[in-house]
Point group: C2
Chain length 174, copies 2
Protein backbone atom coordinates (compact mmCIF):
# COMPACT_ATOMS: atom_id res chain seq x y z
CA UNK A 1 0.00 0.00 0.00
CA UNK A 2 1.34 3.40 -0.99
CA UNK A 3 0.36 6.50 0.98
CA UNK A 4 -0.19 9.29 -1.54
CA UNK A 5 0.77 12.62 -0.05
CA UNK A 6 3.22 15.46 -0.36
CA UNK A 7 2.76 16.41 3.27
CA UNK A 8 5.59 15.06 5.42
CA UNK A 9 3.76 16.14 8.60
CA UNK A 10 0.89 13.82 7.72
CA UNK A 11 3.31 10.95 6.98
CA UNK A 12 5.06 11.42 10.31
CA UNK A 13 1.76 11.57 12.18
CA UNK A 14 0.21 8.55 10.47
CA UNK A 15 3.38 6.48 10.95
CA UNK A 16 3.32 7.31 14.66
CA UNK A 17 -0.34 6.29 14.90
CA UNK A 18 0.00 3.09 12.86
CA UNK A 19 3.33 2.19 14.41
CA UNK A 20 5.00 1.39 11.11
CA UNK A 21 6.83 3.01 8.22
CA UNK A 22 4.72 3.85 5.18
CA UNK A 23 5.75 3.79 1.56
CA UNK A 24 4.83 7.23 0.27
CA UNK A 25 4.51 8.89 -3.08
CA UNK A 26 3.83 12.51 -3.91
CA UNK A 27 1.55 12.52 -6.95
CA UNK A 28 0.42 15.83 -8.34
CA UNK A 29 -3.29 14.92 -8.29
CA UNK A 30 -6.07 17.42 -8.63
CA UNK A 31 -8.46 17.76 -5.72
CA UNK A 32 -12.06 18.40 -6.47
CA UNK A 33 -14.01 21.33 -5.16
CA UNK A 34 -16.16 20.06 -2.33
CA UNK A 35 -16.41 20.94 1.33
CA UNK A 36 -16.71 17.22 2.07
CA UNK A 37 -13.50 15.28 2.77
CA UNK A 38 -15.16 12.01 1.81
CA UNK A 39 -15.89 13.29 -1.68
CA UNK A 40 -12.38 14.72 -2.08
CA UNK A 41 -10.63 11.60 -0.77
CA UNK A 42 -12.73 9.17 -2.81
CA UNK A 43 -11.97 10.98 -6.05
CA UNK A 44 -8.27 11.26 -5.25
CA UNK A 45 -7.92 7.61 -4.20
CA UNK A 46 -9.59 6.41 -7.37
CA UNK A 47 -7.34 8.65 -9.48
CA UNK A 48 -4.18 7.51 -7.70
CA UNK A 49 -5.15 3.86 -8.07
CA UNK A 50 -5.87 4.30 -11.79
CA UNK A 51 -2.46 5.89 -12.19
CA UNK A 52 -0.36 3.43 -10.19
CA UNK A 53 -2.45 0.28 -10.40
CA UNK A 54 -1.38 -0.60 -6.86
CA UNK A 55 -3.27 -0.33 -3.55
CA UNK A 56 -3.19 3.30 -2.43
CA UNK A 57 -4.16 5.29 0.62
CA UNK A 58 -5.04 8.98 0.51
CA UNK A 59 -6.03 11.27 3.32
CA UNK A 60 -8.16 14.36 3.41
CA UNK A 61 -8.81 16.40 6.49
CA UNK A 62 -11.42 19.11 6.73
CA UNK A 63 -12.27 21.80 9.22
CA UNK A 64 -15.92 22.82 9.20
CA UNK A 65 -16.97 25.97 11.04
CA UNK A 66 -20.52 25.59 12.37
CA UNK A 67 -20.95 29.37 12.21
CA UNK A 68 -20.16 29.27 8.49
CA UNK A 69 -22.47 26.32 7.79
CA UNK A 70 -19.63 23.92 7.12
CA UNK A 71 -17.14 26.17 5.37
CA UNK A 72 -14.27 25.84 4.80
CA UNK A 73 -14.49 22.07 5.30
CA UNK A 74 -12.19 20.38 2.79
CA UNK A 75 -11.56 23.82 1.24
CA UNK A 76 -9.38 24.60 4.27
CA UNK A 77 -6.33 24.05 2.02
CA UNK A 78 -7.33 27.01 -0.16
CA UNK A 79 -8.12 29.11 2.91
CA UNK A 80 -4.63 28.40 4.29
CA UNK A 81 -3.11 29.41 0.95
CA UNK A 82 -4.95 32.75 0.90
CA UNK A 83 -5.27 33.75 4.53
CA UNK A 84 -3.22 33.76 7.70
CA UNK A 85 -4.53 31.70 10.60
CA UNK A 86 -5.46 34.96 12.35
CA UNK A 87 -7.48 36.01 9.29
CA UNK A 88 -9.24 32.64 9.25
CA UNK A 89 -10.06 32.96 12.95
CA UNK A 90 -11.41 36.46 12.34
CA UNK A 91 -14.01 35.15 9.85
CA UNK A 92 -15.96 33.83 12.83
CA UNK A 93 -18.35 35.78 14.99
CA UNK A 94 -19.89 34.40 18.21
CA UNK A 95 -20.15 30.74 17.24
CA UNK A 96 -16.66 29.25 17.41
CA UNK A 97 -17.65 25.58 17.16
CA UNK A 98 -15.93 23.45 14.55
CA UNK A 99 -15.83 19.87 13.37
CA UNK A 100 -12.48 18.42 12.33
CA UNK A 101 -12.81 15.38 10.11
CA UNK A 102 -10.25 13.02 8.62
CA UNK A 103 -11.17 10.71 5.81
CA UNK A 104 -8.71 7.98 4.86
CA UNK A 105 -9.59 6.46 1.50
CA UNK A 106 -8.07 3.15 0.60
CA UNK A 107 -8.38 1.95 -2.98
CA UNK A 108 -7.46 -1.40 -4.46
CA UNK A 109 -9.01 -3.57 -7.16
CA UNK A 110 -12.15 -3.88 -5.00
CA UNK A 111 -12.76 -0.14 -5.19
CA UNK A 112 -12.61 2.59 -2.56
CA UNK A 113 -13.18 2.07 1.16
CA UNK A 114 -13.49 5.04 3.49
CA UNK A 115 -12.36 5.27 7.10
CA UNK A 116 -13.69 8.49 8.55
CA UNK A 117 -13.66 10.07 11.97
CA UNK A 118 -14.65 13.48 13.22
CA UNK A 119 -14.27 15.37 16.45
CA UNK A 120 -15.81 18.50 17.85
CA UNK A 121 -13.85 21.50 18.98
CA UNK A 122 -13.62 25.24 19.30
CA UNK A 123 -11.68 27.70 17.19
CA UNK A 124 -9.29 29.76 19.30
CA UNK A 125 -9.45 33.55 19.10
CA UNK A 126 -5.82 33.59 18.01
CA UNK A 127 -3.26 30.96 16.97
CA UNK A 128 -1.46 29.34 19.91
CA UNK A 129 1.37 26.82 19.93
CA UNK A 130 3.95 25.83 17.38
CA UNK A 131 4.00 22.08 17.77
CA UNK A 132 1.56 21.08 15.06
CA UNK A 133 1.03 21.93 11.42
CA UNK A 134 -1.69 23.33 9.19
CA UNK A 135 -4.44 24.72 11.41
CA UNK A 136 -3.42 22.86 14.58
CA UNK A 137 -2.73 26.11 16.42
CA UNK A 138 -6.32 27.35 16.13
CA UNK A 139 -8.21 24.14 16.99
CA UNK A 140 -9.04 23.27 20.61
CA UNK A 141 -10.52 19.77 20.82
CA UNK A 142 -13.72 19.56 22.84
CA UNK A 143 -13.15 19.32 26.60
CA UNK A 144 -9.53 20.52 26.35
CA UNK A 145 -8.09 23.92 27.07
CA UNK A 146 -5.24 24.03 24.63
CA UNK A 147 -4.92 23.88 20.87
CA UNK A 148 -3.46 20.94 18.94
CA UNK A 149 -0.53 23.26 18.30
CA UNK A 150 0.22 23.37 22.03
CA UNK A 151 0.26 19.57 22.36
CA UNK A 152 3.08 17.08 21.91
CA UNK A 153 2.37 14.61 19.07
CA UNK A 154 1.40 11.78 21.45
CA UNK A 155 -1.02 14.02 23.33
CA UNK A 156 -2.59 15.35 20.12
CA UNK A 157 -3.07 11.80 18.87
CA UNK A 158 -5.15 10.93 21.93
CA UNK A 159 -7.84 13.31 20.69
CA UNK A 160 -7.14 13.55 17.00
CA UNK A 161 -9.61 12.78 14.22
CA UNK A 162 -6.65 11.40 12.24
CA UNK A 163 -5.92 8.93 15.03
CA UNK A 164 -9.54 7.78 15.18
CA UNK A 165 -9.76 7.34 11.40
CA UNK A 166 -6.43 5.48 11.34
CA UNK A 167 -7.59 3.10 14.08
CA UNK A 168 -10.52 2.08 11.86
CA UNK A 169 -8.18 1.51 8.93
CA UNK A 170 -5.74 -0.45 11.06
CA UNK A 171 -8.36 -2.99 12.02
CA UNK A 172 -9.30 -3.73 8.44
CA UNK A 173 -6.58 -3.08 5.91
CA UNK A 174 -3.49 -4.06 7.88
CA UNK B 1 -19.29 23.49 -30.37
CA UNK B 2 -21.15 22.32 -27.28
CA UNK B 3 -21.46 24.62 -24.28
CA UNK B 4 -21.05 22.45 -21.19
CA UNK B 5 -23.14 23.80 -18.35
CA UNK B 6 -26.09 23.00 -16.16
CA UNK B 7 -26.76 26.68 -15.50
CA UNK B 8 -29.57 27.98 -17.68
CA UNK B 9 -28.87 31.56 -16.56
CA UNK B 10 -25.38 31.33 -18.05
CA UNK B 11 -26.75 29.87 -21.28
CA UNK B 12 -29.31 32.68 -21.60
CA UNK B 13 -26.67 35.32 -20.88
CA UNK B 14 -24.06 33.91 -23.25
CA UNK B 15 -26.62 33.50 -26.05
CA UNK B 16 -27.63 37.14 -25.62
CA UNK B 17 -24.00 38.24 -25.79
CA UNK B 18 -23.04 36.05 -28.75
CA UNK B 19 -26.31 36.67 -30.54
CA UNK B 20 -26.90 33.02 -31.36
CA UNK B 21 -28.37 29.85 -29.91
CA UNK B 22 -25.89 27.48 -28.29
CA UNK B 23 -25.99 23.72 -28.20
CA UNK B 24 -25.69 22.84 -24.53
CA UNK B 25 -25.03 19.76 -22.50
CA UNK B 26 -25.09 19.28 -18.75
CA UNK B 27 -22.25 16.92 -17.89
CA UNK B 28 -21.68 16.03 -14.29
CA UNK B 29 -18.01 16.96 -14.32
CA UNK B 30 -15.93 17.44 -11.21
CA UNK B 31 -14.46 20.86 -10.63
CA UNK B 32 -11.06 21.08 -9.11
CA UNK B 33 -10.26 22.95 -5.97
CA UNK B 34 -8.59 26.18 -6.99
CA UNK B 35 -9.43 29.82 -6.46
CA UNK B 36 -8.38 30.44 -10.08
CA UNK B 37 -11.08 30.22 -12.77
CA UNK B 38 -8.47 29.57 -15.45
CA UNK B 39 -7.29 26.43 -13.66
CA UNK B 40 -10.85 25.23 -13.04
CA UNK B 41 -12.03 25.93 -16.60
CA UNK B 42 -8.97 24.36 -18.26
CA UNK B 43 -9.39 21.13 -16.35
CA UNK B 44 -13.12 20.98 -17.00
CA UNK B 45 -12.78 21.74 -20.72
CA UNK B 46 -10.16 19.04 -21.18
CA UNK B 47 -12.35 16.54 -19.31
CA UNK B 48 -15.44 17.42 -21.33
CA UNK B 49 -13.52 17.14 -24.59
CA UNK B 50 -12.09 13.75 -23.61
CA UNK B 51 -15.60 12.56 -22.82
CA UNK B 52 -17.42 13.87 -25.90
CA UNK B 53 -14.61 14.05 -28.45
CA UNK B 54 -16.22 17.18 -29.93
CA UNK B 55 -15.29 20.86 -29.56
CA UNK B 56 -16.54 22.08 -26.20
CA UNK B 57 -16.85 25.35 -24.36
CA UNK B 58 -16.89 25.64 -20.58
CA UNK B 59 -17.19 28.70 -18.44
CA UNK B 60 -15.99 29.46 -14.96
CA UNK B 61 -16.61 32.71 -13.16
CA UNK B 62 -14.90 33.71 -9.96
CA UNK B 63 -15.35 36.44 -7.42
CA UNK B 64 -12.18 37.41 -5.60
CA UNK B 65 -12.41 39.58 -2.50
CA UNK B 66 -9.29 41.74 -2.18
CA UNK B 67 -9.82 41.86 1.60
CA UNK B 68 -9.65 38.06 1.71
CA UNK B 69 -6.57 37.84 -0.52
CA UNK B 70 -8.49 36.37 -3.43
CA UNK B 71 -11.00 34.15 -1.65
CA UNK B 72 -13.47 32.88 -2.58
CA UNK B 73 -12.44 33.23 -6.24
CA UNK B 74 -13.59 30.15 -8.13
CA UNK B 75 -14.68 28.65 -4.80
CA UNK B 76 -17.63 31.08 -4.87
CA UNK B 77 -19.83 28.11 -5.86
CA UNK B 78 -19.14 26.38 -2.54
CA UNK B 79 -19.64 29.64 -0.66
CA UNK B 80 -23.05 30.07 -2.30
CA UNK B 81 -23.96 26.50 -1.31
CA UNK B 82 -23.07 27.07 2.34
CA UNK B 83 -23.84 30.71 3.00
CA UNK B 84 -26.51 33.26 2.20
CA UNK B 85 -25.43 36.31 0.22
CA UNK B 86 -25.77 38.37 3.40
CA UNK B 87 -23.43 35.96 5.22
CA UNK B 88 -20.93 36.21 2.35
CA UNK B 89 -21.10 40.01 2.46
CA UNK B 90 -20.57 39.92 6.22
CA UNK B 91 -17.23 38.10 5.83
CA UNK B 92 -15.74 41.41 4.68
CA UNK B 93 -14.48 44.17 6.91
CA UNK B 94 -13.43 47.62 5.59
CA UNK B 95 -12.05 46.58 2.22
CA UNK B 96 -15.00 45.80 -0.05
CA UNK B 97 -13.09 45.65 -3.35
CA UNK B 98 -13.56 42.60 -5.53
CA UNK B 99 -12.49 41.26 -8.91
CA UNK B 100 -15.04 39.36 -10.98
CA UNK B 101 -13.44 37.16 -13.59
CA UNK B 102 -14.90 34.96 -16.32
CA UNK B 103 -12.81 32.38 -18.05
CA UNK B 104 -14.22 30.72 -21.15
CA UNK B 105 -12.24 27.62 -22.06
CA UNK B 106 -12.62 26.22 -25.53
CA UNK B 107 -11.20 22.79 -26.22
CA UNK B 108 -10.88 20.97 -29.52
CA UNK B 109 -8.26 18.66 -30.97
CA UNK B 110 -5.73 21.52 -30.79
CA UNK B 111 -6.04 21.65 -27.00
CA UNK B 112 -7.47 24.28 -24.68
CA UNK B 113 -7.68 27.99 -25.44
CA UNK B 114 -8.68 30.45 -22.73
CA UNK B 115 -10.63 33.67 -23.15
CA UNK B 116 -10.52 35.56 -19.89
CA UNK B 117 -11.74 38.92 -18.73
CA UNK B 118 -11.95 40.54 -15.35
CA UNK B 119 -13.53 43.65 -13.94
CA UNK B 120 -13.20 45.55 -10.70
CA UNK B 121 -16.06 46.29 -8.38
CA UNK B 122 -17.28 46.69 -4.83
CA UNK B 123 -19.24 44.28 -2.68
CA UNK B 124 -22.50 45.82 -1.48
CA UNK B 125 -23.25 45.84 2.25
CA UNK B 126 -26.41 43.87 1.56
CA UNK B 127 -27.93 42.10 -1.46
CA UNK B 128 -29.87 44.44 -3.77
CA UNK B 129 -31.92 43.61 -6.86
CA UNK B 130 -33.51 40.44 -8.13
CA UNK B 131 -32.71 40.64 -11.83
CA UNK B 132 -29.54 38.60 -11.94
CA UNK B 133 -28.41 35.25 -10.62
CA UNK B 134 -25.68 33.83 -8.38
CA UNK B 135 -23.96 36.72 -6.64
CA UNK B 136 -25.18 39.47 -9.01
CA UNK B 137 -27.07 41.22 -6.23
CA UNK B 138 -23.95 41.89 -4.15
CA UNK B 139 -21.56 43.04 -6.91
CA UNK B 140 -21.40 46.71 -7.95
CA UNK B 141 -19.19 47.15 -11.01
CA UNK B 142 -16.58 49.88 -10.69
CA UNK B 143 -17.94 53.36 -11.46
CA UNK B 144 -21.58 52.28 -11.10
CA UNK B 145 -23.96 52.77 -8.20
CA UNK B 146 -26.09 49.68 -8.51
CA UNK B 147 -25.50 45.96 -8.34
CA UNK B 148 -25.67 43.59 -11.32
CA UNK B 149 -28.87 42.35 -9.69
CA UNK B 150 -30.46 45.77 -10.14
CA UNK B 151 -29.61 45.92 -13.87
CA UNK B 152 -31.54 44.65 -16.87
CA UNK B 153 -29.58 41.98 -18.80
CA UNK B 154 -28.52 44.39 -21.56
CA UNK B 155 -27.25 46.92 -19.02
CA UNK B 156 -25.38 44.26 -17.05
CA UNK B 157 -23.73 43.01 -20.23
CA UNK B 158 -22.26 46.46 -20.92
CA UNK B 159 -20.05 46.04 -17.86
CA UNK B 160 -19.90 42.31 -17.40
CA UNK B 161 -16.75 40.21 -17.29
CA UNK B 162 -18.73 37.49 -19.09
CA UNK B 163 -19.46 39.90 -21.95
CA UNK B 164 -15.79 40.89 -22.25
CA UNK B 165 -14.61 37.28 -22.22
CA UNK B 166 -17.24 36.29 -24.78
CA UNK B 167 -16.19 39.13 -27.08
CA UNK B 168 -12.67 37.66 -27.18
CA UNK B 169 -14.04 34.23 -27.94
CA UNK B 170 -16.36 35.59 -30.63
CA UNK B 171 -13.48 37.07 -32.59
CA UNK B 172 -11.60 33.82 -32.74
CA UNK B 173 -13.73 30.70 -32.44
CA UNK B 174 -16.87 31.76 -34.31
Amino acid sequence: MIFITGNSDKVRELELILGQKLETRDLDLSEIQSIDSEVVATYKAQNAYNLLNKPVLVEDTSLAFIGLNGLPGALIKSFLQCLTLQQIVDLLKENREAIAKTCLAYCDNNGVRLFTAEILGQIAKEPKGEKGFGWDSIFIPSGQNKTFGEMEPEEKNKFSMRQKAAEKLKGIVF
